[in-house]
């Protein structure tokens, strides 16, 4: 057993260092799906979260509770909901997205969006408490205040986006359900790890596991040092 694991590690490193094409394709697809979802969630979630942070309307409290709850939405449930929407007989079935990378992007967007909205809401609400009167004084009210708040909250918001990236890149359930884990087409790092482990092919699973953790580590390290350098310059 011990030698099995050792040889699995050796093969795993071989896959990584040797830039094995199957391995690379899976990593590339994962990155493409998760980064696309992150961009979509950021584009929609940052302004939405900021508006939620600075406006007052009936039902705002309930909206915040719902968004906060959705942060913990189990990925399999997100996948299931999207599956029902996208399946041939579902309301969005006409797009033919099911079992494509597009469906996986949609699923992960659904997972990241509440995180981005909720954390942006919190950040901008705190900033608005501090900046509100000054911004209103210089004529930046309502939606016109949003760019200032997003920019000045950029360090906290980067952390929110990283949390979103972490959640999406780590989940299996949603992409498995709507992507179908089709070889060469919709296989991500996590779905491949799950499949290969159950088949007993530990080498590929391990290689992908190492790559996944390494990527997340690298992204966090870059964001952390960028944040520190920038913070020194703008306070």
């Amino acid at each position: 057993m011990a030698t099995d694991i050792v040889s699995a590690f050796a093969t795993a490193f071989g896959l990584i260092v040797g830039l094995d094409p199957t391995f690379l394709a899976v990593v590339a697809l994962s990155l493409k799906v998760t980064l696309s979802a992150l961009v979509l969630a950021a584009v929609a979630g940052l302004p939405l979260g900021a508006l939620l942070g600075i406006t007052r309307f009936p039902g705002r409290g309930a909206t915040i509770v719902v968004v906060n709850t959705l942060m913990g939405l189990p990925p399999v449930v997100a996948g299931l909901v999207l599956y029902l929407l996208l399946s041939r007989s579902g309301p969005l079935g006409g797009f033919g997205l099911l079992f494509t990378p597009g469906a996986m992007i949609a699923a992960q967007t659904l997972l990241i969006l509440p995180i981005v909205v909720a954390l942006t809401r919190q950040t901008t609400e705190d900033l608005w408490g501090e900046y509100g009167e000054h911004l209103r004084s210089i004529g930046l009210t309502g939606a016109r205040a949003v760019p200032t708040l997003l920019w000045d909250g950029r360090f906290a918001l980067t952390t929110a986006l990283l949390a979103g990236f972490g959640r999406a890149s780590a989940e299996v359930g949603a992409v498995l359900i709507v992507g179908g884990n089709i070889a060469g087409h919709t296989r991500t790092m996590t779905t491949t790890i799950a499949l290969e482990t159950s088949k007993g092919d530990l080498a590929l699973a391990l290689g992908l596991g190492i790559a996944l953790v390494g990527l997340t580590l690298a992204i966090n390290a870059v964001a952390f040092s960028a944040g520190r350098i920038a913070a020194r310059h703008v306070g």
Binding site: E130, Y131, E133, H134, L135, R136, S137, I138, G139, L140, R144, T148, W151, D152, H233, V234, G235
Partner: protein
């Protein structure tokens, strides 16, 4: 200062504000004439900050009218008065970017923004701090920047809410020098203060408030030499705080 038709006088007529059923300020009648420096005095909770925020349009009165030279305030009028807060609001950006941000909000294009920011930094002797994070400045420097940022917009009228209350005597004097400069440029100032010495130095007129009302509105010399109300006399004697 630009040569534009004046937005003054600013007129409060029976202005009141109630929040949650509580009357915070009541029956405010006041005229601020062009070129005057008015200092609002009064104990904590008198309503000085509220008066400033009402005048600047940050709060809408629940009773009465606030009018400007042209009657109802126009969008163009709104641009001609600025406010400096007790605790300077510093964006998480450089000193320079704090200026360009306010200028951008006022509709200055990129080139004019840079020129005006440079002129402002120079005028307020902040050029050496231009690249520093605004929030890393000292309290006095932050207040100087806050005033500079308001000045950059070339306001005819400035509202200042206790601009020196958090500063040491030297920084207070430096800010007062700036305020004298603003007066000399013909700008109109309305300022809340707890510092009677400062009020004597700067004020042309005094508005004395207590309990959400204007108790006295008089020329500074008259107010300090012969207050008309017992409350004002007590306040000056340091008994009403």
């Amino acid at each position: 200062m630009r040569d534009l038709p004046s937005i003054l006088p600013l007129r409060f007529e029976g202005v009141g504000l109630a929040l949650g059923g509580r009357e915070l300020v009541t029956d405010l009648d006041l005229v601020v004439e062009r070129g005057e420096t008015t200092v609002l005095l009064g104990p904590n909770g008198a309503g000085k900050s509220l008066l400033l925020r009402l005048a600047h349009g940050l709060v809408t009165p629940s009773r009465g009218r606030i009018t400007w030279a042209a009657g109802q305030e126009t969008v163009a009028d709104r641009r001609r008065h600025a406010m400096v807060f007790q605790k300077p609001v510093m964006l998480r950006r450089s000193v320079h970017a704090n200026l360009t941000h306010a200028l951008a909000a006022a509709g200055f294009g990129w080139r004019r923004r840079r020129a005006r920011a440079a002129e402002t930094l120079d005028h307020f002797r902040l050029t050496h701090l231009a690249g520093r994070p605004a929030r890393a400045l000292s309290g006095g420097e932050q207040q100087r920047l806050a005033i500079a940022r308001a000045w950059a917009l070339d306001p005819e009228l400035l509202f200042l809410d206790e601009p020196t209350s958090q500063l040491d005597p030297a920084a207070t004097r430096a800010i007062e020098e700036l305020l004298f400069g603003l007066k000399a440029e013909g700008r109109t100032l309305v300022m809340a203060s707890h510092d009677l010495g400062q009020a004597r130095r700067l004020a042309g007129r005094i508005v004395f408030m207590s309990g959400g009302r204007i108790i006295e509105h008089a020329g500074a010399k008259n107010f300090f030499e012969s207050p008309r109300t017992i409350e004002a006399a007590k306040f000056l004697a340091g008994e009403l705080l």
